[in-house]
Symmetry: C2
Subunit: 160 residues, 2 copies
């Protein structure tokens, strides 16, 4: 019976971290085992499969990941023949990324698995609880952004 009275375990950021890491590890494990994909790669595939051809910049916006992470994920998907780049005639610096047939096939396998995992994980919650939970997460996000604006840790932070 560890840590009866420790306040750490009451600290909400800590609880969020513990739960989220548990979920992430579980999900990451399944994706790695079944498809050899890491989370960043999976996220890019999910977005590409559902939005069509995008630039890396678009992917940064859609996945909330660092542009370096996006770049690496894209390169990996390309190397494995799951995505392909075509030149962007409107801007010579970037390319359009799109799933190949192989990529689309994998995407078609991947999304149902995601749905079923989500179902299994959150089957302990009612539909209403799930909605509320999501809404709370969104509000927390908002609040973080607001606080960051007030106390800029790392320079005013342009939206690069």
């Amino acid at each position: 019976m560890p840590s009866r009275s420790s306040r750490l375990s009451d600290f909400l950021p800590y609880q969020m971290s513990v739960s989220t890491n548990a979920v992430s590890d579980l999900v990451a494990g399944k994706y790695r085992a079944r498809f050899g994909l890491k989370i960043p790669e999976w996220r890019v595939m999910a977005v590409l499969g559902d939005a069509g051809a995008l630039t890396q910049r678009d992917l940064v916006g859609a996945t909330r990941m660092d542009k370096v992470a996006v770049n690496r994920a894209c390169k990996m998907l390309e190397d494995r023949g799951l995505a392909a780049r075509s030149p962007n005639d409107r801007d010579g610096r970037s390319h359009h990324l799109e799933l190949t047939p192989a990529g689309k096939a994998m995407h078609a396998e991947i999304m149902p698995l995601a749905l079923s995992m989500e179902q299994q994980l959150f089957s302990v919650l009612t539909a209403q609880e799930r909605r509320d939970f999501k809404a709370v997460l969104a509000r927390i996000n908002e609040q973080v952004r607001k606080l960051e604006r007030l106390a800029p840790q790392h320079a005013p932070e342009r939206d690069n």
Copy 2:
């Protein structure tokens, strides 16, 4: 207006990850800026300050961190004179860790800051919503453990 219809943004594990990372980064930034502590170090300090002398093994249980992470955090705290080890006469392999006076002083500064950050972050939630949120996190945790038991990714997992 990025990613209108992308299902990734509806995926609950993704939303948890985004929100939690936002919170963690904010918290980590403040602790680093004010005290030069990283999250693992902060967690160890929080537990030691509130539970007294513990072994590293105890800390692993109380913080849910890897034993290597705990070890490194302890070493850092020791090097900075915030914690000290005393021999454990009941077991020659381990030591008791305890905050030094300097460590206690820092702990006394740290905890109010933690409380105030928690307050600021979650001021957008009512007390009831906070309770519900915590309860949901706990239930999700439970569910993850249950699923892990059913599909052991990485060997039956002894409780080391």
